[in-house]
Assembly symmetry: C2
Homo-oligomer: 105 residues x 2
DNA sequence: GCGTAATACATCGTATCACGAAGTATTAGA
DNA sequence: TCTAATACTTCGTGATACGATGTATTACGC
């Protein structure tokens, strides 16, 4: 799918992927793979950005001799999802505009 | 609204604004203003990009002593809108994923 | 035992793109 | 006469998705 179209969705997708329970990079990619594909470099960039913004927290955990970073959503992160939900109404009205005059919406 | 969220919409919005009849920059901004705001620098950048991509054609017309560039959608431009329509199904399924587990969708 | 895939995270450079700032020019109205 | 509206252009910047590449360990097939 179009990269530009993904841009506004990715951050919130990642937040949504950890909103239930803490998760880690590799798992997030697998979980999201069903509906939206993203590369590792993209994900880790996003995770770092979201951490800096305070939307999630990180906790490194030893797992089978390997390091695993668990990401947990914060209250700000949850608020971001709620904000997205509000913005979505605007997005839909733009979609309506684009489709205006088109048969079979 | 969030810039990232706008990104995937802007090009198609502009195409949609000229899909009925040819229009020019200043008018497109006014027409789109109802549902999505964009600055002049943004619009003219988009118009040039869409022209280079063959999604629209330009025709300069003298109007009241001033130059006015009329933009007209091409078959490729119309196809782009149709493609967007198809992509939108994917976007909606991503939206469903984000909202999953949320009361009151 | 050995090679390969899977797991797991990180960094760098690049291309795309929306936008503010600033500029040019004309016309209409206060 | 000054300002606002009309109309288009260019430049620089910051944000960001991604491919390429690198590092390490574990698990599995042969």
């Amino acid at each position: 799918m179009d990269i530009q179209l993904k841009r506004g969705l990715l951050d919130v997708c990642v937040l949504s992927a950890i909103k239930g329970e803490a998760s880690y990079g590799y798992k997030i990619i697998k979980d999201l793979g069903h509906c939206i594909e993203l590369s590792e470099s993209t994900l880790y960039t996003i995770l770092k950005r979201l951490e800096l913004a305070g939307l999630l927290t990180v906790e490194a955990v030893e797992h089978g001799g390997r390091l695993r970073k668990y990401y947990r959503i914060t209250a700000e992160g949850t608020a971001r999802i709620a904000e997205f939900k509000r913005e979505w109404r605007e997005v839909m009205s733009i979609y309506q505009f684009i489709m205006k005059g088109d048969e079979a919406l």
